[in-house]
Amino acid sequence: MFDRNYKEKAIESVLFSVSALTVIVLLLICIFLFRDSLLLFKDTSLLDFLTGKFWYPTSVNRQFGLLPLFLGSLLVTAGAIIFAVPLGIACAIYISEIAPPKIAGFLKPFVEILAGIPSVVFGFFGLVILVPFIQNTLNLPTGQTALTGSIMLAVMALPTIITISEDAISSVPSTLKQGSLALGATRWQTIYKVIVPAALSGISAAVMLGVGRAIGETMTLMMVTGNTAVIPSFPGGILNPVRTMTATIALEMGEVPQGSAHFHALFAVGTVLFVITFLINLIGDMIKKRYKFKVD
């Protein structure tokens, strides 16, 4: 009996240690990113890095200014959200409230397939189809623009937004819906005046996580946005090439000597990216949690 208890306890501790490893990995990510980033600040001040307007990593007067990359990411992500949020929420409402079960069951696998397509395939598709299309229709010198990136990114963020919004919408208590219909409201009035407001916090969590997905995307953007590290003008910059933080890391890491200032600058960009997505995920989770309490 003692033996058995001992074994049970041992197994439980092993299982606990493995789960605790996830926390350790997260801590290690923080430590290793910060460690390699901090070395940049031996000769560049934090303020210069965060507010610098020029990313000239290889010129004689090298400058590591984050702003062009940060604003590039911001512009592309904002564009993607403008496309993806209305479309994603509309699709979620259709699947969970309007479509007959058979059609909803038919549509869901499409969303799953969309989530499964590798980002490099999206990038390739964008490169051979959307880039020439944008260039020709808008008569631009190049089709590799922030807009191209936003459209591709919107498509990629859709599955996240649709799946989580759909969860939120279908977990609105049916009593609310029935009450509204019984009062003589049409189904559409019920959807936009009762169901969507009740699911709003879940839907906003979906949007947050969609933003997190979009801002971290690398390969697609590298292939379709042209990768020019200049501060984008607003709003005309949407039709110019931009460079995101993610693309910068992936593009330049292969060519920098390990341990150089440029190497550490790329880690600093990665740290900024990590902090941003960490906060976005945290907020998204908190919204989701609050929403769960409400429904209970």
Binding site: K7, I11, E12, L15, F16, V18, S19, A20, T22, V23, V25, L28, I29, F32, L33, L87, A90, C91, Y94, I98, A99, F110, I113, L114, G116, I117, P118, S119, V120, V121, F122, F124, I129, V155, I162, G184, T186, W188, Q189, L209, G216, E217, T218, M219, M223, T246, I249, A250, M253, G254, Q258, F267, G270, L273, F274, T277, F278, N281, L282, D285
Partner: protein, 307 residues
């Protein structure tokens, strides 16, 4: 059924006539317009999926041949096949699943079967959520700093496998947890009531019942490993290596990176278009094939449960 809905329709009409014609008509019309727009959005998304798949299949199938799948690339990748890239991707899948699958399942078993709601559990859950939302390029940087540099595994298959396994552990934990939650409480209670210990119950009752769900989740994460590019780009993949990796410390080729290089920085992008479509199609077939298998397992299992 048909009849009763007709009656309802008529009732609505008569109410509308009594209660104010213009308002009722407006509500009805706006409902029609709104529903049409909403269904249009769903159709647009489905259409996009069909277009992207059809386009790559249409252009890629002519490039695929036995030689394309089994030969080394030649002439700086402008000719020949993608054999080493296929093998590299398969090795990545095997290596990262070997690490991530046992760890993910163990963590999920702890969280679902043992953990009580306290601060420690909350921290672990939060860490998993954040790892799941961390961009893959950040995992790449971490893999570079920890595995390539600190542990000195170098730019290698080993570093890439370990980096990718960290990336998919949260996915495996979440899907395993879902599979475990779906196992009815009665299973555990009846086993425990027979005097079977907790671990024995998990091993012989809970886990076997959860296997279809766990398999589905792991297949989906295999798809993720096959498609990820940014993490391996920083930790060990190379664009041209006309031989297979000979150990875990070798560099390697992989399908997604191969496609990326051919499409963006090859010496002759226009001439290799057909190779690009072919590579994209092989990658899609692997990833979507796995997705379809996962969906089939899930629906097969759901039907079994219904009976």
């Amino acid at each position: 059924m048909e009849l009763s809905s007709n009656v309802n329709e008529n009732e609505h009409k008569s109410i509308r006539v009594q209660g104010g014609l213009s308002m009722g008509l407006n509500a009805r019309t706006s409902e029609k317009v709104a529903f049409a727009l909403l269904s249009l959005s769903a159709v647009a998304i489905a259409a996009f999926v069909v277009i992207i798949l059809a386009y790559i299949m249409y252009n890629g199938y002519s490039a695929i041949s036995i030689e394309f799948l089994t030969e080394m690339p030649r002439m700086m990748m402008t000719e020949g096949g993608i054999y080493p890239a296929i093998i590299g991707t398969i090795l990545l899948i095997i290596g990262s699943m070997a690490v991530a699958l046992p760890m993910g399942i163990m963590a999920a078993v702890y969280l679902n079967e043992y953990a009580v709601e306290n601060r420690t559990t909350w921290i672990i859950e939060m860490a998993i959520n954040n790892l799941a939302g961390t961009p893959s390029v950040v995992f790449g940087l971490f893999g570079l700093a920890l595995f390539v540099k600190y542990f000195d595994f170098g730019s290698s298959l080993l570093s890439s496998c370990l980096t990718l396994s960290l990336l998919i552990i949260p996915v495996i934990i979440r899907s395993t947890q879902e599979a475990l939650i779906a196992v009815p409480k009665e299973y555990r209670e009846s086993s425990l009531a027979l005097g079977v210990s907790k671990w024995q119950t998990i091993k012989h009752v809970v886990l076997p019942a959860a296997i279809p769900g766990i398999v589905t989740g792991s297949i989906l994460s295999i798809g993720r490993v096959a498609g990820e590019t940014a993490p391996i780009l920083l930790t060990g993949v190379v664009y041209f290596l006309p031989r297979l990796p000979d150990s875990m410390y070798s560099q390697f080729m992989a399908l997604p990176y191969h496609l990326f290089v051919l499409a963006t920085s090859g010496t002759s992008i226009a001439q290799t278009r057909s190779l690009q479509y072919g590579t994209a199609l092989v990658l899609l077939i692997i990833v979507l094939g796995l997705n379809i298998i996962a969906v089939l397992i899930r629906s097969h299992y759901r039907q079994k449960v219904k009976i």
